[in-house]
Subunit: 204 residues, 2 copies
């Protein structure tokens, strides 16, 4: 009923997760030492290793957990009955703010970097991150298309393009550490440009 390698037990389980989250986010995957994680969690290394078979599984658990949490939080803000321009603007703002968060950026860096030597991680992250987000978006798009508010032959592609447009300019700079602070003005600008371009193509 559970994953290939077991992840069991608990009392300080949540402490370990919290500590690991902190250290992984600060130091990356390779950069984080298990000793540091145990110290940050206020837990002995032995306890940590009684929960998780190894460092990788610990990280996977964090990734899974936080991706779900964030994905849900991000989608709760939106009122899907509003007109498309509004829905898209709200969604894009919410998505872009998330994409620019320290957590999201660091998670992306780690999962991309490790996806070579650690393929399950890349797969898992893609599925519970970008793919899930896109699926949610497609659900909405299909409804809007049925309502005649949007015109897209391929809602999947539309969703991919829309998400991608949100990354223009700011995200690219963020991921390479070229820019670290983002004003509301900058964010609103990228969002409205993304919405305009999307509607120019797919507006009814």
């Amino acid at each position: 009923m559970n994953a290939p390698a077991a992840i069991r037990k608990g009392r300080k389980f949540d402490d370990v997760l919290a500590g690991a989250r902190t250290i992984f986010m600060r130091d990356g995957f390779e950069g984080a030492s298990v000793d540091d994680i145990a110290r940050a969690a206020g837990v002995s290394k032995a306890t940590l290793y009684s929960y998780f078979p190894d460092k990788r599984m610990l990280f996977m658990e964090i990734a899974r957990h936080e991706c779900n949490r964030m994905a849900e939080a991000t989608l709760e803000v939106v009122d899907f009955s509003a007109p498309p321009r509004e829905v898209m603007t709200t969604t894009a703002t919410s998505l872009l703010r998330f994409l620019l968060s320290d957590f999201s950026l660091q998670m992306f860096r780690i999962c991309a970097a490790e996806s070579g030597r650690f393929p399950e991680l890349g797969q898992a992250f893609y599925k519970s991150g970008p793919e899930m987000g896109r699926n949610r978006m497609v659900e909405y798009l299909k409804i809007a298309i049925a309502r005649g508010e949007l015109a897209a032959d391929d809602p999947d592609m539309m969703a991919e393009q829309f998400s991608e447009l949100c990354k223009a300019k700011l995200w690219t700079r963020a991921i390479f550490g070229v820019q670290t602070e983002f004003s509301d003005t900058e964010i609103n600008d990228v969002v409205s440009e993304a919405v305009e371009t999307t509607l120019a193509r797919y507006g009814a």
Copy 2:
């Protein structure tokens, strides 16, 4: 006249670069051992360290070198006097093929991953990669706008959006190792969708 830490000398210099390129691309930055690099280069570790002050500077040199090489190669294919749809299609195809190459993906992973503990790398890569590409593209866009072939208030944003649209679907999968082979059909599809969307917004 040169960077903070010197990178000089030579006879097997190019061998070192070639070996380092191979190993870094295979194992990432942290994953690559200097012993492996020296072995792959057919060179002693002492020689390697007589060229480069440390592993980081060695990697920076590779990145700089290869980014320039690739950027030039990618831009040579395009005939900028053709009509915009054709220029954009050719450019997008060339760009997307590059973005999906093992080299580009691995370079992106490494530079993104290390940009926290190693900020100069992120900066340098951004400038000689995405930023340079965008600048080249903007040069063309301004000409096409002057010709009345395109209508964009903000050519920088247009270029950012266009590049970003090329990453839809395939690149996201590639960076996380979810998909590793890409048919011409898939590539052409993403390219034509990117061109359509861009022209819907910015076509004259």
